[in-house]
């Protein structure tokens, strides 16, 4: 948190290295969040691009009041939602970007990659609101209260969406992923 405040402060003074560090720090997370919400790699990349460019444009006057991670993830969420609203989603999209497991064992790598691909596909079958809560909570680390505010719903609705989403994921993944 303190490091992020310092980085933002440096960015406000035009420090390019600070902007690079922010990008390096959060790019994979934001791409994962965007992919989780949009399920289309090219669109997810565009969203992350637009978020960083907008952030860079406004950083001179930017005041960090909460977590930078949460702020950027919220921006990704908002832009992703704009895109979803702007067009009717295709019935079947391209295969999502291949996720990268964190292991150096080739066999574990295969297991983890396969598992993550199946997870992405299962996530894409959730209603958007449920998917959004799950991604923002588990991946971006947002609290239910923050997500509820973003979605314009009550805290209990946010919790319920998470619960329904997780139950459906369990059902979708049951017997497919674990081996």
């Amino acid at each position: 948190m303190l490091e992020d405040k310092l980085l933002v402060l440096k960015c406000r003074r035009g420090n390019r290295e600070a902007m690079r560090r922010i990008y390096q720090k959060y790019k994979d997370l934001l791409l994962t969040v965007a992919t989780g919400l949009l399920h289309e790699p090219a669109e997810a990349e565009d969203v992350v691009h637009d978020v960083f460019v907008a952030f860079a444009q406004s950083v001179e006057k930017f005041q960090l009041t909460g977590s930078l991670k949460g702020y950027l993830a919220t921006c990704v969420r908002n832009l992703a939602l704009d895109r979803i609203r702007a067009k009717a989603r295709r019935a079947e999209g391209p295969r999502p970007a291949t996720p990268s497991p964190v292991t150096s064992d080739p066999e574990k790598d295969a297991v983890a990659t396969e598992e993550l691909i199946q997870l992405q596909e299962a996530m894409s079958r959730l209603p958007y609101e449920q998917r959004e809560v799950i991604v923002l909570h588990l991946k971006a680390g947002l609290r239910f209260r923050e997500i509820a505010r973003l979605q314009g719903v009550s805290l209990s609705t946010s919790h319920a969406r998470f619960r329904y989403g997780m139950d459906k994921l369990r059902s979708l993944l049951n017997g497919e992923v674990q081996q």
Partner: protein
Amino acid sequence: MRPEEDIRKTIRRWNNKTSERMDERVLGDALHAMDESQGQEPYGPPFPRRSIMKNPITKLAVAAAVIAAVVLGLFEFVSTDAGAGVVWAEVAQKVEASHGVSFRLRETGGQKAHKNWPRSYSVVRRSPTLSRTDWYIADRLSRTVFIDWPTRSVIWLSHNQKIYSKKTLTDEDVQNREDAWTDPQGLISLGLNRELHELGQKTIDGILCEGVGTNDLRDGDFTFPVKSFSARMWVSVETGYPILVEVEATGGDDGSIRRTSTLDKFQWNLDIEESAIKPEIPSDYECID
């Protein structure tokens, strides 16, 4: 039903990585925008040409085979009574001399856990240079991973999803191999200096066996705090080859972790050739690289 905690962990582990092209595009545009907004002359593309994002090295968790190896290697240090059916030093020599081995593996509680035993399991074939592991779910082949260590090539096929991947191992991966169990000979080197106790004799699947066990845990064996650990190996009195290895560890911060590994259906001294175990990639499989 799959535990929710598994799904949560998978989601947290989910990580799409940006490409070098994307990094250049995004950061180039962002820095340009930042310069413009602050009235500075925009620089040229500033982003380093290459950003190497290596995966962090995580200690190999619950390497069942590694622990099994530990047991194997210590036979040389177990006393052999005059009346005993198994000469442990000879077992070690036989294992070490075996060119290739195949066995069935069942793991529970870990990343490669097998559910619905005995219909779900892995079949492993290994030689000093080649490795192939086939995962079965309900007796149907679900996944294959083939590794050719000299050429550093890895082929992975998901038969359920009809996808495959071909990768080349890094120096780091190859280096890690030296710390892991990859061939029967490696078992010996990994197994030195543990305290063993003899388990006596029993019959397994009609075969008279003699067993040895250990509770000697070493740093780095597991990635979680271990409360209890035991490993047992049973060797055929007649052939002198291992036929069953069982490993169990419990622990974790809240004591909820229990991991087991069972290796059986061993075939020792196999000649494993690439042509016999290198997987064919069906034409309708999609490459995900």
